[in-house]
């Protein structure tokens, strides 16, 4: 099974019925898979803080939500994470393309990569880093953990996990 199908299967199995996405080249496959699944209401966002607002509304409406975005979005969403998702204690799995890591061809991406884990740690956000394809086997447990503790949880997925960026 592809990692894209495995990820979306796990979302569905954990009752996630709403996913918003802001694209990244590394995420194209999983976004296609999200769009293809009838069990999931997929709404593309223009900006990640907007997307987290949609997720907060969906969760309060009784439908578990998740966001798929790039790590540059951590810079966009710190206020939303602190004053909406964390303050009102809502679960939010964040599947994050971790640009600027090993096998990254675009130098500027490294500039946010070096801040990504530090910012997530500063926010006390549980953070997992998928580097090898087999790491995807933990995704189901991470989702269960997220909905157990009602927190935003970050799953950083680097180019090596997705099979290379420039060289795929």
């Amino acid at each position: 099974m592809s990692i894209h199908a495995k990820i979306v299967d796990d979302f569905v199995a954990n009752g996630v019925g709403f996913i918003t996405t802001v694209p990244c080249k590394q995420l194209a496959g999983v976004i296609d898979e999200v769009e293809a699944r009838p069990e999931i209401h997929h709404v593309p966002s223009n900006k990640e803080d907007e997307g987290m607002g949609l997720c907060a509304g969906s969760y309060m409406g009784g439908k578990r939500a998740a966001i798929i975005m790039q790590n540059t979005a951590i810079g966009v969403t710190i206020n939303t994470l602190a004053t909406l998702i964390q303050y009102y204690r809502m679960p939010l799995p964040m599947l994050i393309s971790y640009r600027g890591e090993l096998r990254e061809p675009v130098a500027c991406q490294v500039e946010m990569a070096v801040h990504t884990k530090a910012l997530l740690a500063q926010l006390n956000i549980p953070t997992y880093h998928f580097h090898n394809q087999s790491d995807v086997n933990e995704f189901d447990m991470i989702l269960k953990y997220t909905f157990m503790c009602n927190k935003p949880v970050a799953i950083l997925t680097d180019a090596n996990f997705w099979g290379g960026y420039g060289d795929q």
Partner: protein, 184 residues
């Protein structure tokens, strides 16, 4: 009319609906005028009332009214294309457009100058956009509810705030109470 006068007038309509209310003085005013478990008060995160309301409307069938401001819509302008392209007929976005940032000292917004939020919403693809005068808000809101069509209302009104207490309810209590009202 200023925002608090409009909220007082439409409170009987809002009472029976799910309401997501904008950060700052709008939430304080609504809370003081007619606190209801069906009200979700934003205590932070300027700009996201329309997004939270849309997510809520998409997730469940009850009507949802997001009460937003001109300044907050300007800060999250990308919400309008998302609303336009994801038609959700139990969703009403009510923009109280007083042409100013009311919660921060009534500094003027561009919506009070050359920018028409109704025209922006139309250009973004929103199908049912109604710009109305403050005195017509109740009628327009009731018509939007009765139409069962997603509607964006831009209510042009005067700048100014009522002095209301800060909301001290815990955010998790607000959220839990609201979620129970959604499910009721």
């Amino acid at each position: 009319m200023i925002r608090s006068e409009i909220l007082k007038e439409i409170a009987p309509i809002l009472r029976d609906q799910l309401v997501v209310c904008n950060i700052g003085i709008p939430s304080q005013e609504l809370h003081a005028i007619d606190d209801q478990p069906t009200n979700f008060y934003m205590l932070g995160t300027m700009g996201l009332a329309s997004s939270i309301g849309l997510g809520l409307a998409m997730a469940q069938p009850k009507p949802v009214i997001a009460i937003d401001g001109d300044g907050s819509v300007l800060t999250n302008l990308c919400t309008l294309p998302t609303i336009a392209n994801n038609v959700t007929d139990n969703y009403i976005l009510l923009i109280i457009d007083n042409g100013s940032y009311g919660s921060t000292g009534d500094q003027p917004t561009y919506a009070g100058k050359k920018t028409s939020l109704a025209k922006v919403a139309e250009a973004c693809g929103c199908d049912n956009v109604v710009e109305c005068r403050d005195v017509d808000t109740g009628r327009v809101l009731q018509e939007a509810l009765d139409s069962k069509k997603m509607t964006v209302i831009v209510c042009k009104c005067d700048s100014g705030n009522a002095t209301m207490p800060v909301i001290t309810m815990d955010p998790v209590v607000i959220r839990d109470r609201f979620m129970k009202a959604v499910q009721a």
